[in-house]
Amino acid sequence: MTTTTRTLDPVRIRDDFPILHRQVHGKRLIYLDNTASTQKPRQVINALVQVYEEVYANVHRGIHYLSEAATERYEGARRKVAQFINARSPREVIFVRNTTEGINLVAYAWGMANLRPGDEVLITEMEHHSNIVPWQIICERTGATLRWVPVTPDGYLDLDALERLLTERTRLFAFTAMSNVVGTINPVQELVARAHAVGALVLVDGAQAVPHLPVDVQAWDCDFLAFSGHKMCGPSGIGILYGKRQLLEEMPPFMGGGEMIREVKMTGSRWNEVPHKFEAGTPAIAEAIALGAAVDYLSQLGMEQVAAHERQLVRYAYERLQDIGGLKILGPGPDDRGGVLAFVMESAHPHDIAAILDAEGIAIRAGHHCAQPLHDRYGLVASARASFYIYNTEDEVDALALALHRVNQVFG
């Protein structure tokens, strides 16, 4: 590894992650399932403990010390997230449970109010189910039509087809900034500009991009961005929907209840300000605060450095995996992708690959990774997937390669 001062030191980083020191089946844990969810540093775990031991109370409207302290930290986390993605204002940051809820919020609140028969919603063949099913549901309810941008054999969006598919009927273009299977990093800024040129809004699924790449919503100019805390060192149970202020102001609310209202009368209700209009009920208080700690942690490492580390690791892994007989990596070459490698082997079903690796202490995923249409497009039902994060090392890639050779031995 190069050793400029700002290069990540995964060995030192590992010290922050208690779980990485455990054993699995008597072997040291090699955690390569980071696309599904990442592990948590003690800074984040401690933040949770600290909230509950020192400043926990329900937020908003409380006139006692704990409630005010909890509210300040909760809103402080919102400011941290806003800064992390370079939002214009913390008001553009809505706390939800996960990427999935963020997308559903837009589908229900914006979609139900704005989509009509004849309108089109455009998504892509490489989407996660969370950026497919909400649009299927809302298009069915509103009579709008769902269209799909095809994926090329090597895992890129088909930009010629996009030219034809983006029309003045397109009301929204929803796509992932980075594929959770083939790892393709899409040219978000260009895609947003093309969609805006025909008057369409853009929702970016940032579930994989935000944890792994520097993201700037103002540079992207996207209208919405959804992502999950649990994929970026944060706790489970918290996610974010970013939305441009003006749009959020105009949208009707999604869920109704406490906190999202300004006034409730028997004859009807008026809504609170954004972002509160979209946060009905008691929010995930400790989770938001701990997500703030995760954002601090990543910011301190530097997202450029995080991305560089993964780029290096995935290049190394791409090479090592080439050597393995009958193994085929899905998607683009090593230079155009994030730190995720999905593959199939001639000798073994993905389930069997994952099970053999598990016995060696290596955690990978096997299945359709919530991207059935993409697998269908490649004539596959399932694939195996190894994915990297800040704490993974080349040593671990070597162990992965060795175990994959072993798969060939067992099934040879």
Binding site: H60, Y65, E263, P275
Partner: protein, 139 residues
């Protein structure tokens, strides 16, 4: 927090200055905080762009009512143009105490009514607030 009930604030609350109605005010604005029911009406007489007389009326908690009373004293003689740009800081300076996220809204209520009056408007425009936890007033 005990400062909330500092002599001066309680004094303004118990013995409000300039409280009452004004005949024929040049500017008047009524605002409420639906979360706690506080209400404040500000009435101004203006000459040559300056406030020459103030009255206010209202009901609510110590902070909102003392703030209205203190404000009514502070603005006499001030140019309307200046008052239009008063903000959170000026109000907190007058009260002289720090306030949590809920009570700050009580303190800001009279100022919001004053600013609306000073601008001569009847509904609040789109306004940025530093504190994302506070609801905007759209009466």
């Amino acid at each position: 927090m005990y400062d909330l009930y500092a002599e001066e604030i309680l004094d303004h609350y118990k013995f409000p200055r300039n409280k009452g109605r004004m005949d024929q005010p040049d500017l008047i604005y009524h605002d409420t905080n639906p979360f706690c029911g506080d209400e404040v009406t500000i009435m101004l007489k203006v000459e040559n762009g300056r406030v020459v007389d103030v009255k206010w009326d209202g009901r609510g908690c110590t902070i909102s009512q003392a703030a209205a009373s203190m404000l009514s004293e502070a603005i006499k003689g001030k140019p309307l143009e200046e008052l239009r740009h008063w903000g959170r800081e000026e109000m907190l300076d007058l009260l002289g105490i720090p306030l949590g996220p809920v009570r700050i809204k009580c303190a800001m209520l009279p100022l919001k009514a004053l600013k609306a009056a000073a601008w001569g408007i009847t509904a609040w425009p789109h306004e940025e607030e530093a504190d994302t936890s506070s609801p905007r007033q759209k009466p």
